[in-house]
Symmetry: C2
Subunit: 327 residues, 2 copies
């Protein structure tokens, strides 16, 4: 059975200590501990220490004050070794854009912390794609980015328009005027490999890297099951009616706050009617082609998504092992 | 294999016509069709016509104006017969509370539409529990309630506090000031039956009906997989560490906008440490007891959740058929 090796942002178990969030005294005492560490987010990017051994996103708590203070702080949980982990959202002004001339190009711009050459901002996709942090750290950073993106876009009450206040150790925003309480949002997305016997359906969006084909995907809508969303998306995007859905695995996808729900689905036919607004192309691939995509040797130079993405693992599982549908 | 008979709010496929939402001219022409129907929501409850044959939630479009106009309208999709279905949110003032003396009690209050004895407001839980509408209509009402609840709680921009405007046929709210766009929210919730050999774990919240035990459940948090959320919730609520997770099925749960993701999970032990804030009790049930719960003949008078809820079907599947864990 192929493993999910390389899948980004995923960790089996992490103690979020959510039962501690309600107690400000306990949170303050965890924050004061010497082994406490903070994940810093600025302009949606993690700020890490650039060491000889690579990136270290777990910084001392003192960095919050050193970098001008946090807009929002949250308690994320405890590492397996018991160290408390916090998240802090820095103000946009804590970082600045600079031209990056390191590779000879003048038009590339990067974000830096002025006066702190030891710190580096690297976007979370590159971190996962390059395996630049440990699996656990990648999962923590995914939570940090999703939560802080929610805070930065939810400073006001959607119910009455008043400014809201951070509550419950960064896991809630409360409205002091209408008393509404607001929880972080996570958007379920279905991503599915439609299969028909020895062929599977992949599509490409115009924004994809050249030659890359991936599984179709779309948001689960209010009042929909996962299964109905899977069938609807394949029908809407490729014109293919589908039957049974088989769940595969899930992945947090913090761009900005999705939960990817990977599934296989049984197509009723191979006739395509591609929605050219959503997709540049969609086509059926044989099992041999799927194996070639995964192994990076497709005769037409076509590419599978990288192993950090669940689409890679859907394709790989199907390519190397038959998928059976229960019902 | 036990079926999911009775599971509420679920339909295999419904043409949401989401590709039509962007075109106001097409939406207006669908709205003008003679076979167009509307689902009315007032104070979070569906308004149905009370006929001899039962409740009919699919009302003529003219009812919107007759009842004082809508705060929000949305295009939901097309029935299998091709009829366009809309949703309208009525202002709170369109309905009023009245004492219900029909069963001899004076302290029960119901919502009514003044002067319209032909219309009836019944909450969506009672509709699903009683099978008061067809399966398709139940699913449409779940979408209607979730979407309209989102609208009524999101009249202001969470990014800047300005009033927002309804867009894309009711499926988006746009901010005219900061230009932020806001999509309806759906909250993924894991609900899981932890099992260890011939025993399964059920708990009861203080708010449950007397004697009812159900599967544990909780929201998926930012940066979490479904699998990690399942393990975290069982550990937090019952103190039980878990291993492999097996997906079962999903269900929309529009109270206010959840997506229930039903799973089985393999417990590592039967030692319990129950979180008494979340749960009044949690205990292991044998397979014989589980069958008795489903069949309504538990010796201590304990009860399973009703078949409208996915917890019922998780328990039923495990009670009558072994669950195997892949990995």
């Amino acid at each position: 059975l192929p493993s999910l090796e390389g899948l980004g942002y995923v960790v089996d178990y992490f103690d979020r200590g959510s039962y501690r969030r309600e107690d400000p005294v306990e949170v303050a005492s965890l924050r004061a501990r010497e082994d406490a560490r903070v994940l810093l987010i600025a302009r949606e990017m993690p700020v890490s220490r650039n060491t000889e051994k690579g990136l270290d996103p777990l910084l001392p708590m003192s960095e919050i004050a050193a970098l001008g203070g946090a807009q929002v702080e949250a308690f994320l949980g405890l590492t397996p070794a018991g160290a408390p982990i916090f998240i802090a959202l820095l103000p946009d002004e804590a970082v600045e854009q600079r031209a990056d001339t390191s590779d000879g190009f003048l038009d590339r711009r990067i974000l830096v912390v002025p006066g702190r050459e030891d710190l580096k901002l690297v976007d979370l996709r590159s971190i996962a794609a390059g395996g630049l942090v440990t699996q656990d750290q990648g999962a923590m950073l995914a939570a940090a980015k999703a939560l802080m993106n929610w805070h930065s876009r939810h400073r006001f009450c959607s119910n009455c328009g008043s400014p809201t206040e951070v509550a419950v150790a960064g896991w809630r925003r409360d409205c002091p005027v209408c008393k509404a309480i607001h929880f972080p949002r996570t958007d379920p997305v279905v991503i599915m490999l439609a299969v028909d016997g020895d062929a599977c359906l992949l599509g490409r969006q115009p924004r994809f890297p050249k030659g890359m084909y991936s599984a179709l995907a779309g948001f689960v809508e209010p009042g929909e099951t996962i299964e109905a969303a899977v069938r609807r998306e394949v029908r809407e995007e490729a014109g293919v009616a589908c039957r049974a859905v088989q769940y595969f695995a899930s992945q947090p996808w913090p761009f900005p706050a999705s939960l990817m729900i990977g599934c296989f689905v049984e197509a009723e036919s191979r006739n395509l009617e591609v929605d050219r607004v959503e997709l540049e192309d969609a086509r059926w691939f044989s099992r041999e082609e799927a194996v070639a995509l995964i192994e990076g040797r497709h005769p037409d130079g076509l590419l599978a998504p990288a192993s950090m993405a669940i689409a890679h693992h859907l394709l790989k599982r199907w390519a190397y092992k038959a998928v059976t549908f229960d019902k």
